[in-house]
């Protein structure tokens, strides 16, 4: 399974990168979101995966009696997800505003600030 997930991670990165290299702002944002997903999955995978063992202490005990999945990557991803949500929301709205103001979705037409 790890191999499959590793390949998926690779694909998420590749797809994200391919999309951010496009001219359309919408694709750009989607690409960034895919990259974010890739990074989250990477944290998850590299924190090692284990099936059916949520890191929740059973009701009747005070410590784990069984094996449990590493909770740290989960907490990290959770934080990362929420943060990316904020950033993505902002980016999406930025795209909307930029489109309204510049009248184009084509990033190659937004070059005025780079001119001498």
């Amino acid at each position: 399974m790890e191999i499959l997930l590793a390949v998926t991670i690779g694909l998420l990165y590749a797809a994200g990168i391919f999309l951010i290299l496009r001219r359309s702002m919408v694709r750009l944002i989607i690409g960034l979101i895919l990259l974010g997903n890739g990074a989250n999955l990477l944290i998850f995978l590299l924190g090692r995966i284990s099936k059916g063992k949520p890191p929740i202490i059973p009701e009747d005990s005070k410590v784990f009696t069984d094996l449990y999945a590493d909770p740290i990557p989960q907490a990290l991803i959770l934080t990362a997800i929420v943060i990316s949500f904020g950033l993505q929301a902002y980016a999406i709205i930025l795209v909307k505003r930029a489109y309204r103001v510049t009248k184009t979705d084509d990033l190659e037409e937004m070059i005025t600030t780079d001119e001498l």
């Binding site: 990074a39 590299l46 990290l76 950033l87 902002y90 930025l94 103001v101 600030t113």
Partner: protein, 503 residues
């Protein structure tokens, strides 16, 4: 040493921001709270700095969970100094903003976000945990996103598209590096990581993380060839925003590089060499860019890139002299760049434009202000005995010790080109006959301001120039502080021992 005081430079901006959010659409109250908040933050930051510069390293275990289990805030000499400098620059910008940011932006969160930005900066400097550093970085970038687009002018939005994209990419790369390190070492605490890396057999894999962080932080600090977002965007927001960005944002990347590459990644010749090459190319590429720009803020923007190269050069060499040079330059650059952009703001108020062809005549019209500006600008250049000169001496010595001719060449060439770029500004904006153009005339509001308002706008520049002069005047002391920092950076054991004492 457990020390509550480390948290105040983080909490005070947060507190001020929260209070301001309760005064959401009351710009007048916000301006006062902003300045007061920044002032107290500065006090707390100076408190931190004066303690850390004695050589002790202070820690604060958030939640009372000892390292490496909880999040630890660490104040060593570098962190302390940067917290103080950042808070100082922020106070200057805050005063400037109080005088220059109109009610439009002020009633849409400008001031709270300025506080959040400072909070993020101070947090980054004090973070002793890699993931915590990531989160602080996010605070910084989102605040900067908002500040850079606040107002939604066309240029702002276009610049922000690039700024946002590249910064988000950098964050993702950073996060990827964190994933690698956690996967390999099972820890996030910097000291703990350092300890584990020293014993790890997987240095090869750890180097991939090093590369990821190099690129991630490289983008954030506008290192060649990852700087594109900077000249595309820094000249678009209000001058106050450019100032705090120019002074502090890229520096956090530099700081993070220093922290991570001193503590975590052991000496890998390939990576060191890469850093040196990119540093030299930054110096030159940035300076070349500055040479040909016609917009004051763009000139400064490119100079940021060029001067980031100086700091990275020190990091790449990583000898004591080189680190001293880089750290000293870092201190100097925070002050000088903030000041430069604030000056551009005043010039805009006077002439209504940032473009050189629209300015002129300042020297004859405002001789004393001009001399003040000249001091600031020549500090930026590094004309001896002003502050930028001293770190370069260390760097040149360091480069010689390494027999690195290219680096010496880069530093000297970049210095020369910086001089020429600034002189170009001087001639065009200060000497040349003033250009009067109808279409920009209405934006030149200086003459409509009352005396008090003008003083508010000039105060931060005087503050920063004085600070710059102090850096120069006490160059020997600053050098000693930088030497202390270099010593702390060169020996991770000091840091580790402070954070996770051996029982």
């Amino acid at each position: 040493m457990i020390s509550h005081f480390l948290i105040w430079p983080i909490l005070l901006p947060l507190l001020s921001a929260i209070v301001m959010m309760f005064f959401w659409s009351k710009p007048r109250e916000q301006r006062v709270i902003s300045v007061v908040g920044h002032f107290f933050t500065l006090i707390s930051a100076i408190f931190v700095a004066t303690r850390t510069m004695k050589g002790d390293i202070y820690t604060l275990f958030a939640g009372n969970w000892e390292a490496p289990y909880g999040i630890v805030f660490v104040g060593d000499a570098l962190s302390g100094a940067l917290v103080a400098l950042a808070s100082f620059s922020a106070l200057a910008v805050s005063i400037f903003s109080a005088g220059s940011i109109g009610n439009g932006r002020a009633s849409f969160g400008f001031f709270p976000i300025l506080q959040f930005l400072l909070m993020g900066l101070n947090g980054s400097f004090l973070a002793g945990d890699l993931f915590n550093l990531y989160v602080w970085f996010e605070v910084i970038i989102i605040s900067s996103f908002v500040l850079i687009t606040l107002g939604s002018e066309k240029a702002q939005l276009e610049g922000a598209m690039k700024y946002v994209t590249m910064n988000l990419l950098a964050s993702i790369i950073f996060l990827t590096g964190i994933a690698m390190l956690y996967g390999l070492l099972g820890s996030l605490n910097l000291a703990d990581l350092s300890r584990r890396i020293a014993e790890s057999p997987d240095i090869g894999l750890i180097n991939t993380a090093a590369v990821l962080l190099l690129v991630g932080f490289g983008i954030k600090s506008a290192l060649f060839p990852m700087y594109f977002w900077l000249p595309a965007s820094y000249h678009t927001p209000p001058a106050a925003v450019s100032a705090i960005f120019g002074g502090l944002l890229t520096k956090v990347g530099v700081y993070a590089m220093f922290r991570v590459f001193s503590l975590l990644f052991i000496d890998d010749p390939f990576i060191r060499k890469t850093i040196i090459i990119l540093a030299i190319l930054s110096m030159i590429a940035g300076a070349l860019g500055a040479m040909v720009q016609e917009n004051i803020r763009k000139i400064f923007s490119y100079l940021i890139i060029s001067h980031i190269g100086f700091m990275f050069a020190g990091l790449g060499l990583f000898t004591e002299l080189a680190i001293i040079g880089a750290i000293f330059y870092l201190f100097h650059d925070i002050i000088a760049k903030t000041n430069a952009f604030l000056i551009s703001g005043i010039i805009y108020k006077i002439r209504g434009s940032f473009r050189l062809e629209n300015i002129g005549g300042l020297y004859n019209q405002f001789p004393y202000v001009s001399i003040l500006f000249a001091l600031a600008l020549f500090s930026l250049v590094g004309t001896p005995p002003l502050s930028g000169f001293w770190p370069k001496l260390y760097l040149l010595q360091g480069a010689f010790a390494d027999l690195n001719a290219w680096m010496m060449f880069g530093i000297l060439l970049a210095s020369l080109l910086t001089l020429l770029a600034v002189v170009k500004i001087w001639i065009a904006a200060f000497w040349k006959k003033p250009q009067v153009r109808k279409e920009i005339q209405e934006r030149a509001v200086w003459h409509t301001l009352d005396q008090q308002h003008k003083i508010i706008l000039l105060t931060p520049i005087i503050m920063l120039t004085l600070a710059s002069l102090l850096l120069a005047f006490y160059s020997s002391e600053v050098g000693s502080l930088a030497a202390l920092i270099a010593q702390q950076l060169s020996d991770p054991r000091i840091y580790i021992e402070a954070v996770i004492p051996t029982p």
